[in-house]
């Protein structure tokens, strides 16, 4: 058979995969092991991978060493959720327009949206900072949410558009014949049918929003109570004496929500995220 491998080919493939996965996963394994080890054992020379007295202590003590830890996590969640909800309010009607209607400049407008993917928030940070300053919204949630929304819209439109194209037109034509308004049709007919697609877009958007928080929060916010997790922990990262086991324990707890989302929905997320890389 064509897919039959000889024994040495199996060895080659599996050792290749093992090597590859080691590079990808070693940091996570190391972070987990470190979070279990007492600090003085970490600071022992020569380097040891394991210690005798492993415990989950850091996962309990971190809440008092990083007093605002829970707050950071809630902030991260809140900011990402707000970005996702606001982005969806823009993504759903826009992708409906691109999937259903013929209008002038349609392709140019779509291309213009996709071109946003080429710049990052870091490039536009100066005028954004000045705007936030003038609006007096520095050090508010708003300053961390609003810029995030714009940068997740293009991929969202691209994803949802390809989903909506597959929904048969007869569905809304029937509703329109029955005398329903067009906005009513979108809300009552299209959205319910497209709900699975909207969910995928929502999750992909949430993950993207969770990942991009760092620079906006770092630049637009200096109120510690409002900081999302990455920036909240960054202050501890820069210190002279980093409490590594607690910092890495907190990091792992912080990435848990995204990892859980990913494990359960990995198929949709992978297809969703790769579609952002534009292929028709």
């Amino acid at each position: 058979m064509i897919n039959k491998y000889r024994w040495w080919e199996y060895v080659l493939i599996y050792s290749g995969i093992a090597l590859f996965l080691t590079f990808i996963l070693a940091p996570f394994v190391e972070a987990f092991v470190v979070s279990l080890r007492p600090l003085d054992a970490l600071f022992s020379i020569p380097y040891q991978f394991f210690t005798d007295e492993m415990s989950f202590d850091a996962y309990f003590t971190m809440w008092s060493s990083v007093p605002l830890l829970f707050r950071y996590m809630v902030n991260s969640f809140f900011i990402s959720t707000a970005v996702t909800v606001l982005a969806l309010l823009a993504i759903i009607p826009a992708s409906y327009a691109f999937s259903r209607f013929e209008f002038r400049f349609k392709n140019s407008i779509l291309a213009a949206f996709l071109a946003i993917n080429m710049v990052s928030g870091a490039v536009l940070i100066i005028p954004l900072y000045k705007v936030m300053q003038q609006l007096g919204v520095l050090n508010t949630y708003f300053a961390m949410i609003a810029p995030g929304v714009a940068f997740v819209i293009p991929t969202g439109i691209w994803l949802l558009r390809s989903y909506l194209i597959k929904i048969p037109k007869e569905l809304e034509e029937a509703a329109l014949v029955d005398g329903a308004g067009r906005i009513y049709t979108l809300i009552r007919v299209i959205i319910p049918v497209a709900l699975p697609g909207i969910m995928v877009v929502a999750i992909a958007t949430f993950i993207a929003a969770y990942a991009q928080q760092f620079i906006f929060a770092l630049t637009f916010n200096s109120t510690n109570e409002l900081n999302p997790l990455p920036v909240g922990l960054f202050q501890f990262f820069g210190r002279e004496n980093v409490v590594w086991n607690e910092l890495l324990a907190a990091s792992l707890v912080g990435i848990l929500p995204v990892l859980i989302l990913y494990v359960f929905l990995q198929k949709h997320i992978v297809s969703g995220l790769t579609a952002g890389a534009v292929k028709e």
Partner: protein, 295 residues
């Protein structure tokens, strides 16, 4: 009397309104504003003047050309490594061996996890006294003593690249894997019946057919790498002695850390210029590939 038909249907434009407004405020207007600011000496003070191309002149008189060169050097190494690892990874995960579904799930975490948090872990691993890499290297006898990876110019430069490769490789791998799986199995079977070896089939069937995907992914990856901020900022803040100061980091330091908005904007304009060139190439390539596949 069919003037009704000729009338423009505003409904689709209405649907685009929310997305357009947000984009105009957050992306388009700041883009224009960046260009305007780059011709001013705006700083923290309330007043500013238009200074013509002074900022640009000043910028090029200083070390800026070397920053550009460093950015491209950083990007070229990082993108090449990502592409090489991505192709190898895709080939491995494309092999029909038991467990491959699981392996495909396991390669993704660096990509889905927030970049900043993944970088914290690398910060620990690069620690010279107690970190894993220095520790293992000492155990294996590669290093004779502790080595602080982020404290020296060359090692800091390479360390930030390794972390960037770690974050970027999963995406490249999954994308190329998808490209490989879209190749019709008939092609491989036909070649196989003719007695073509696996290596021969890879060279003559797989590689040519995934070439468009490799090309588009390289460009996209270049664009993202060019925009990369979190990794370098968290690990080194552009140091030591500017060894990891790329254009984005330089812009941020000038504008946000030193409050020189005008000079920072001139740097941002240069970034936008380079990104536009990449994007133009990208769109050109995508449309060329689309034309080829329909022809």
């Amino acid at each position: 009397m069919n003037s009704v038909n000729k009338k423009i249907d505003w409904f689709p434009y209405l649907l685009l309104l929310p997305a357009t407004i947000i984009t105009l405020i957050i992306v388009a207007w700041p883009l224009v504003e960046t260009i305007r600011l780059s011709f001013t000496n705006t700083s923290l003070s309330q007043t500013f003047e238009y200074v013509g191309i002074d900022n640009y002149v000043k910028m090029f008189e200083k070390k800026f050309p070397s920053v550009i060169a460093r950015t491209f050097y950083w990007m070229a190494i990082s993108v090449s490594l990502k592409m090489i690892l991505g192709i190898i990874g895709a080939v491995l995960l494309n092999a029909a061996v038991p467990g491959r579904t699981l392996f495909r799930v396991l390669i993704m975490p660096p990509w889905v996890v927030p970049i900043a948090i993944g970088v914290f872990i690398w910060g620990w691993m690069y620690n010279g006294q107690f970190g894993m890499i220095s520790g293992l290297a000492q155990r294996l006898g590669i290093l004779s003593g502790p080595f602080e990876f982020l404290a020296y110019r060359n090692s800091a430069f390479m360390s930030t690249i390794v972390t960037d490769v770690w974050i970027g490789t999963p995406m490249v791998t999954v994308y190329l894997l998808a490209a490989m799986q879209s190749i019709s199995p008939d092609l491989h079977e036909a070649a196989w019946t003719d007695g073509a070896s696996r290596l021969y089939r890879f060279r003559r069937i797989t590689m040519p057919l995934i070439m468009p995907a490799v090309a588009t992914m390289s460009l996209l990856s270049a664009i993202w790498t060019f925009n990369s901020f979190d990794i370098i900022w968290i690990l080194t803040e552009g140091g030591p002695r500017n060894a990891t100061t790329t254009m984005i980091i330089d812009t941020y330091k000038t504008a946000i850390s030193r409050f020189r908005y005008g000079e920072g904007s001139a740097r941002a304009v240069m970034i936008v210029l380079f990104l536009s060139i990449f994007s133009a190439f990208y769109f050109l390539m995508v449309s060329k590939i689309a034309k080829k596949s329909t022809a």
